[in-house]
């Protein structure tokens, strides 16, 4: 009876707390939206991450909503370059292009499988260069035929090569948002195995593993990351970089979780069902993984939620420093690396910071959500921290 009551209590508590904490609820929403967007990046992004509009570099966000000619509705106004050095553009009066929903655009394969051409939005007007000449004759209604392009619309501006920052953020999230999950699974596995063994055996095993862990805790993570990355060779493609970065970050982040797990294993170990398992001759690692870890599932969920932002930020830092993801692959970190190279640069083209905004948003969202989960699953957290 008490157990049934407890179950009701938990799911009801989740909704009650979500309602009582709008920030956490909003965070959940943000994450759901971002991960959803990541899945449908090809459709949501008007352009591929590598598509360059040669005559439209360094453009600010160009989406407009009103003009005398087209009236109200999403549209872009044609701009021409007036200063080659500062990359300043002037708007051309009277030259507007409508932005349509579900516009035909660059062909792509959704999830690498389904060949499609429809994007959430885009223009269907032919591409025009800086002087205003149509670069490629529009063949009928489809400017994308052949090597042609449609006139670009930049929701969040364009970068130094004329690539759409909005599209690149969407594609970049594939690395930036997944590295957290992959990294945390590696680091959690390490933490479970090492922390589990330490807590389970105690004694010398415990001592050795925990001193090892403390070594990593004591060295500031960033320096360790830089050190590890710099002793490794530079010329990797992005796939290899991704793997190496994830591995490095996981290696740096396991000790904290391992310490938590060690403590819990140490107390769960005293339960009769563990004694029963030992008596049956089940090996230690099997007991830890199949019998002890599930007991702490809720705490682990919390530490996952709070641990993911670290990986996302870690990737960003490495990529920003040029030690991570490099062209043609794209991540939020690599976008910042390419674009935010100096303060004056940033002053001139503030929209280059949008990947950073996405980053902050995700980091905060995971933190707020993690806090909520902790309050639900681990209400005595504070007492424990104090005692």
């Amino acid at each position: 009876m008490a157990e049934a009551a407890g179950r009701v209590g938990r799911s009801a508590a989740l909704w009650q707390r979500l309602r009582a904490r709008p920030v956490a609820a909003a965070s959940l929403l943000v994450l759901v939206l971002l991960y959803g967007a990541m899945l449908f990046a090809e459709f949501l992004a008007p352009y591929a991450p590598t598509t360059t509009f040669r005559h439209h570099t360094h453009q600010p966000p160009t989406l407009g909503f009103h003009s005398r000619e087209l009236g109200f509705g999403p549209q872009v106004q044609h701009r021409v370059l007036v200063d080659e050095v500062t990359r300043r553009y002037a708007r051309i009066r009277g030259q507007h292009y409508r932005v349509r929903l579900f516009a035909r655009g660059e062909p792509y394969r959704l999830w690498g499988l389904v060949p499609l051409r429809v994007h959430l939005f885009g223009t269907t007007a032919p591409y025009v260069d800086e002087e205003g000449a149509t670069v490629q004759a529009a063949s009928g209604a489809d400017p994308w035929l052949g090597t042609g392009q449609a006139y670009p619309v930049f929701l969040l501006g364009s970068d130094h090569l004329g690539r759409d920052i909005f599209s690149r953020i969407l594609y970049g999230s594939r690395i930036s948002l997944t590295i957290g999950f992959i990294g945390i699974s590696i680091s959690l596995s390490l933490a479970i195995i090492l922390g589990g063994l330490a807590g389970y055996y105690g004694g010398a095993v415990d001592w050795t593993i925990m001193r090892f862990a403390e070594f990593f805790i004591l060295i500031p993570g960033l320096y360790l990351i830089l050190f590890l990355r710099s002793i490794l060779s530079y010329d990797w493609d992005s796939g290899q970089s991704f793997v190496v970065i994830t591995a490095i970050l996981s290696f740096v982040s396991w000790p904290g979780t391992a310490r938590l797990i060690r403590g819990m294993v140490h107390s769960i170990k005293r339960e009769d069902f563990i004694a029963a398992a030992q008596l049956q001759g089940i090996p230690a690692l099997a007991i830890i993984v199949t019998q002890i870890v599930p007991q702490m599932a809720s705490i682990l969920i919390v530490s996952v939620a709070l641990g993911i932002p670290g990986f996302i930020l870690g990737e960003t830092v490495l990529s920003y420093l040029g030690l991570g993801i490099t062209d043609p692959a794209v991540s939020w970190g690599s976008m910042l690396n390419r674009n935010v190279t100096s303060l004056s640069n940033l002053r001139a083209f503030p929209w280059f910071l949008y990947p950073g905004v996405a980053l902050v948003l995700v980091t905060l969202a995971f933190n707020f959500l993690g806090d909520l989960l902790r309050d639900i699953f681990d209400p005595y957290h504070q007492e424990r921290a104090r005692g």
């Binding site: 009876m1 009551a5 009701v8």
Partner: protein
Amino acid sequence: MRDADAGPLYDVTGLTVTFSTERGPLHAVRGVDLEIDAGTVVGLVGESGSGKSVTAQALLRLLPPHALVNVPRLLFRGEDVVTMRPAALQRLRGGRVGMIFQEPARSFDPIYSIERSLAETLHTHRPELDPEALHARSVALLEEVGIAEAERRLASFPHQFSGGMLQRVMIAHALAADPEVLIADEPTTALDVTVQAQVVDLLLRLRAARGLAILFISHDLALVGQIADRLVVMYGGLVMEQGPAAAVLHAPRHPYTRALLDAHLPLGVHYTEQPLHAIPGNVPDPLHPEPGCPFAPRCAVAEGRCTRAIPPLVAEPAHAPAARATSSVAAAAPHDPMPAAVTGIVHHRCLLPGTKASLAAAAAPGEAAC
């Protein structure tokens, strides 16, 4: 208060408690009538899951918010507990009604000394006491519950006590506010038999010394039989039988009571001589109560109609508390060892074979009432 002195301390009619759970409504208590008279020990017996603890908690409105309590009548000394204001309720809980539980170790905060926790309890109910009076009172209470060297033991912490000792301390807590009723929910189940016997002795002494009424809850009929004046037998959220302890133990009218008695293992019996009388099957699932008698799937004398509807309780006129011990029953049932004491409430259709005929003759009005 005036007429309450004559009536029972607790007067409960038709108590139902349903918990709303993820898997649907859980029918924990399905209509319980209970009376606790001043100075008497009422034994509440039944297997685990039969609703004993929920009933006890309902008496003090201690149930969690997802419990739906429906009780047409829940009076303590004539006062309606259901509509009681928070302040009065606070005085009831741990004040006029004390409670002790199965696992004393869980009821104590391990970081408080016995003195500190006892003083806290005393202070909430008697704020006028100064520290010295609190100390004196604490010592007196520990001595009352039979803890030697009370003065010294006050400084100890819960983990320094054995289970039996801790249960004594818990009783001291319950006595701190001079309650009129003590609700003891399986107070000895976690204890050894030897310690159990001591705790039962202590409770009986307290009853005698303080005129305390006790609601003693246990699954062990023999144990309850040692302490209770009246017995209430519960099963599947329902009262199966109630009556004076001696009557229920010696001449159970209900197949469930009989089965419980048979399941009791007397000392000195050996497996080579006598098989056990286990009750087959399991307690009913409170999420899916059967339409009829909850005991029907396990009952040796179940009939077809038992599974159709819950049999109504029948107060046998010859056994009603007001008309105790009429000799007509004794005459009608000469084989019954203690017929005079057979009083109480049973489903008439369950009356055990043998007593059935005689009682049908003696208690025709009961038959008609059904």
